[in-house]
């Protein structure tokens, strides 16, 4: 995490603890308000005072990202990505401000789990997964596996930071920014790790959406169904999958989105795996269980999805937009110009190319 010219590990940890304390304090302030001694209350107020500037700015940026999405109504305008880019631009224009740091860290730590829970409710549709053909599911799993193996192998070979490698792997193999957001707390990632991996995955995905997939489609005369499958199986961002399949017939569009949804199941492999690798012990974070429960409830309880999804989705998107805005505000764009940035880009591109290659080989075998 780049914290400016005078940043150091101590100040980062300090800020984190201040943010955590403040977060905890805010969550419990209502319960304990009556019983807290005066001294603790004043301490809490001091912590709130430290947190609010960063939190406010992250909320503004996150809402702006969400607003852009609503305003443009374009599949390219992923609110998470827009919020992060806005955050990065704001940080780049205004420079580093130490006063914002506690609030930004608090925003990231607070809104990511909230978004994850609602994400399970909105996107984790087990019924849809079961409708996909078994051979396709096998190919999707193979592609996820290839993504993981290639990215983890390259990350190890290039001596990339573990956190960046894990986030790049989940972001590439599963669902881009969302997966990165879900996995980041499980692997103890810092803002810089998140921004580097997210931007790398974004560039790889954009390259696939705008250049590689259209080129391959034309070059290899791929049928529309295969193209939809290719987009759903290899493109990292859900928005980009929708964009790629936007011009296709509705059933192919649904196929692409369904295939993309199947990739969400990879989270149940990725999060415990990477969390264990990062923390050297098997660990499944609490929010993943909630995420799973929400998915099961919204998939199998009749009427739940239809009734509550319209409510849950904006909350999920807004939560993550704010979190991504906070990440962007805390991240330094120059981080991409470092060796780690270059490695992350290389890994993301190689992973994507390998996935596309495996898909083409797999589809050839299936057909």
């Amino acid at each position: 995490m780049k914290l400016g010219g005078d940043n150091d590990e101590y100040s980062t940890r300090n800020s984190f603890w201040i943010a955590s304390n403040a977060g905890l304090g805010i969550l419990t302030v209502a319960e304990e308000r009556g019983s807290q001694p005066k001294q603790e209350r004043s301490q809490l107020l001091m912590q709130v005072r430290q947190v609010w500037p960063g939190l406010l700015l992250a909320c503004v940026v996150g809402i702006a990202g969400f607003g852009v999405k609503l305003w443009m109504n374009s599949v390219y305008a992923d609110p998470l990505l827009v919020a992060m880019v806005l955050g990065i631009c704001t940080r780049w224009l205004t420079g580093n401000n130490g006063k914002l740091r506690p609030g930004l860290l608090f925003s990231y730590r607070f809104f990511i789990p909230i978004g994850i829970v609602f994400y399970g409710a909105v996107k984790l549709n087990f019924v849809k997964f079961m409708q996909v053909e078994k051979s396709y599911i096998a190919l999707i799993m193979l592609i996820i596996l290839v993504y993981f193996l290639i990215i983890l192998g390259l990350g190890r070979f290039l001596k990339q930071r573990k956190q960046v490698t894990f986030l790049t792997a989940t972001g590439s193999a599963i669902c881009g920014a969302s997966a990165i957001a879900i996995t980041s707390p499980a692997v103890d990632a810092e803002s810089e790790d998140i921004s580097v991996s997210l931007i790398s995955v974004f560039f790889a995905s954009a390259f696939g959406l705008f250049i590689l997939l259209p080129f391959l489609c034309g070059l290899m005369h791929l049928p529309e169904q295969v193209y939809a499958f290719l987009a759903g199986a290899t493109l990292q961002f859900t928005g980009f999958v929708k964009a790629a399949a936007g011009d296709l017939p509705k059933e192919l569009y649904s196929l692409a989105v369904s295939i993309k949804a199947v990739r969400y199941l990879g989270l149940f492999l990725a999060i415990p795996l990477f969390s264990s690798l990062a923390r050297h012990r098997f660990s499944v974070p609490w929010f993943l269980w909630v995420f799973l429960v929400a998915g099961v409830v919204f998939s199998f309880v009749p009427g739940m999805a239809q009734r509550w999804s319209p409510v849950c989705k904006p909350i999920q998107v807004l939560s993550w937009s704010i979190a991504m805005g906070a990440i962007g505000l805390n991240a330094d764009v120059n981080a991409l110009l470092t060796d780690n940035g270059l490695k992350a880009l290389s890994i993301a591109f190689c992973g994507f190319l390998a996935a596309v290659t495996v898909f083409l080989a797999g589809i050839a075998l299936i057909q």
Binding site: L212, F215, N340
Partner: protein
């Protein structure tokens, strides 16, 4: 794939930046190019596709046709974009490689300099182009050159400082070792002095006291001989020593040097030779005292370290283009000195072998002082020696021929003019703040029959002089309240009674400045401490001579330090007729032993030490009327007395021997009494030998 060069990666780590923030120029160039071309490619792709679609749709073509056209166009345009991207990436890598290699070369040079390799040269190829890196390389080369020069200068200074530090450390070590040695050397005689003094304090017989006092005096002399070189060296080091250049008779000087050394050489069976080369002038200008000191020291060392063979003093002239020198060389056939120890010989506080002090005694400063004195005289000193082949210590001094040689017998001669005799009783004021010194002066003067008053400082002396007239005043220089200079000035100006009283300074300072100051304030003479009885008496004698010539200016009558205390022969002394004949024929003794007073002293003491037993034996023989042991002991005493030229004793012992042989016991008893009286007189006379020696030494 890694685009970062290891040397580039090192930089941020060295600067304390975490490694995950490590970055390099190559990375930045490649990433920037890649992102730029990717964004460009995406924009191109979007623009082409949207334009194409809208154009084709405007012509209301079938969807399948549109799709086919778009697909074909995509293949071409996107293929081109991909090709351009790959090419651009390739160019970016090559370009960054070329830039980073040159920067890496510079970085490597910086690394070398950081590691202390200042001799690194910048690759000239780096400076050949006209770009910024070439300018940087040229600037860096210039900076490196300057840095190299500074570094080398710094290294040189550091080496000098380290050498100086080592020298200082070794000098300090040598000094400590020297102090340890000297502490031992000084404590040994001091121990004897203190021990014997304590015994004297509790002694119940005068005879015993005198006998012990002789030892105390001898050990004091030894102590003085240790301390003197140290003080000499300190004076030379502080630059306070001044030469007294005056005409001198070289022949007399050499003879005066050879004679006492011969006394040391003879017992060892060494041949002492004087090799005076032709052309050596007799009269030269020089400091006779210092020249003699150097020669004595070198000869003394030569004899000390030579067990058999000879010691030669060679004197010759040495002409060169610039100047003529007089070269003195002391050549011995002694143990020799290894070449690696030659310089040590002339280093302060060191001897070639650390055990030398223990084995041969001495301070080890002799050669150091000699070299310093020679250099002070404008000459040089050196050494040529090999172990087992003897040594040659030589020195040169500028040859300055004098018109006529001075009469330097007083300074050079080892022969005394005579002994100090008693003077008429005088009233003497001793001004001295140190009580033991007061007591010494009082004892010496009262023993000579003078009346002594003591003042502890200048003020007390002034008060005493206002009350009473003194025949002579001995004035210490350094005193509390009022020092000797001030007191002298005030006595001579304010005390009517003592305006003409001669004042003799007492000081431990032997430098010329003190001497001049003493003269300036009106002192007639200056006596160097330690105070010896004979010196005081000699000063009184000089005063008396001076007093006899009342018109003589002060300056002419005094300065015993320059003239040295004189001794007069008994025959010439004013009161000689009142005094019994001297127990020893000093003139003959000095002739016999080349003026070696310590040797004479030792011989007399040895003789006196045996006498009590011999007298006891003779008394017993007389009581038993046994002539044989009586004659035998008388014969022994006669022989020994003859050796030491104890004339009275010799004659008495001769008479006693004859009486014993004749068995004239009545006469023998009387003669034995005379002999005892003669022994007593000789015993009383012995301390005067030390004073005699001191007189000669000065």
């Amino acid at each position: 794939m890694s685009f970062s060069h290891p040397s580039c990666n090192r930089q941020p780590e060295m600067m304390g930046v975490p490694s995950r923030h490590a970055s390099s120029l190559r990375t930045k160039i490649v990433v920037s190019f890649f992102i730029a071309i990717l964004v460009f490619g995406i924009c191109m792709s979007v623009a082409v596709q949207s334009t194409l679609k809208s154009q084709l749709e405007a012509h209301q073509l079938e969807a399948a046709v549109v799709a086919a056209v778009v697909r074909n166009v995509n293949v071409i345009t996107l293929g081109l974009i991909i090709a351009v991207m790959v090419l651009t990436l390739f160019i970016a890598i090559i370009l960054s490689q070329r830039i980073s290699v040159r920067i890496k070369t510079l970085t490597d040079s910086v690394q070398h300099i950081m590691n202390g390799d200042m001799d690194i040269r910048i690759d000239p190829q780096l400076m050949q182009s006209n770009d910024e890196i070439a300018v940087l390389a040229v600037s860096f080369a210039n900076m490196t050159n300057n840095l190299r020069l500074s570094y080398h200068k710094l290294q040189e200074k550091r080496t000098q400082a380290e050498t100086a530090c080592q020298e200082a450390e070794s000098a300090n070590k040598a000094k400590s070792q020297f102090l340890a040695n000297m502490s031992h050397e000084i404590r040994t005689p001091l121990n004897a002095i203190m021990g014997f003094s304590e015994v004297i304090a509790h002694a119940d017989s005068l005879e015993k006291t005198r006998e012990l006092s002789t030892t105390v005096i001898r050990e004091s002399d030894h102590l003085l001989s240790i301390i003197d070189p140290i003080l000499d060296h300190a004076k030379i080091e502080s630059g306070s020593i001044e030469l007294e250049i005056q005409p001198l008779n070289l022949h007399e000087l050499l003879q005066s040097v050879i004679s006492p050394i011969n006394v040391l050489a003879q017992p060892k069976g060494l041949l002492l030779l004087l090799d005076q080369q032709p052309g050596v002038p007799m009269a030269i200008n020089g400091d006779v005292v210092r020249l003699r000191q150097v020669l004595i020291n070198l000869l003394n060392n030569a004899v000390k370290f030579t067990d058999r063979g000879s010691v030669t003093l060679r004197v010759e002239t040495q002409a060169s283009a610039q100047e003529n020198n007089l070269r003195f060389a002391v050549i011995d056939t002694g143990i020799g000195i290894p070449a690696d120890k030659h310089e040590l010989i002339f280093e302060t506080f060191t001897q070639a072998d650390g055990s030398t002090t223990r084995e041969y005694g001495g301070t080890g400063l002799g050669t150091v002082i000699s070299r310093e004195l020679v250099e002070l005289m404008g000459g040089q000193m050196g050494l040529e020696s090999e172990p087992g082949k003897g040594s040659t210590f030589w020195f040169t001094i500028p040859l300055r021929v004098a018109e006529a040689p001075a009469d330097q017998s007083e300074l050079l001669s080892g022969e005394p003019d005579g002994e100090i005799t008693a003077s008429p009783s005088l009233t003497v004021l001793v001004v001295e703040d140190y009580e033991p010194n007061q007591a010494v002066a009082r004892l010496h003067l009262e023993r000579a029959g003078h009346r002594v008053d003591i003042a502890a400082n200048g003020e007390e002396a002034l008060a005493a002089c206002l009350r009473k007239r003194y025949d002579i005043i001995f004035m210490d220089i350094q005193m509390p309240v009022l020092d000797g200079y001030g007191a002298t000035r005030r006595i001579l100006s304010e005390c009517e009674l003592n305006r003409r009283t001669p004042i003799v300074g007492l000081t431990a300072n032997t430098d010329q400045a003190t001497h001049r100051l003493c003269e300036e304030v009106g002192m007639v003479a200056k006596i160097t401490k330690p105070i010896r009885g004979n010196t005081l008496l000699q000063a009184i004698k000089d005063y008396r001579l001076c007093a006899g010539r009342s018109s003589t200016p002060k300056g002419e009558c005094s300065t015993p330090t320059a003239k040295k205390p004189q001794t007069e022969s008994v025959a010439n002394a004013d009161v000689a007729t009142d005094m019994p004949a001297a127990p020893l024929d000093m003139e003959g003794l000095l002739e016999d032993h080349c003026g070696d007073i310590p040797l004479i002293h030792a011989l007399v003491n040895q003789f006196l030490a045996l006498l009590p037993d011999q007298i006891r034996t003779m008394k017993q023989a007389l009581a038993l009327c046994d002539p044989e042991p009586l004659a035998q002991e008388a014969h022994r005493i006669r022989g020994a007395a003859g050796n030491i030229r104890a004339t009275t004793l010799f004659e008495t012992a001769t008479a006693l021997e004859a009486q014993a042989k004749r068995q004239a016991f009545m006469e023998a008893e009387k003669t034995l009494g005379d002999l005892e009286e003669a022994v007593r007189y000789l015993t009383e006379y012995v301390p005067c030998l030390s004073e005699f020696q001191e007189t000669l030494r000065h």
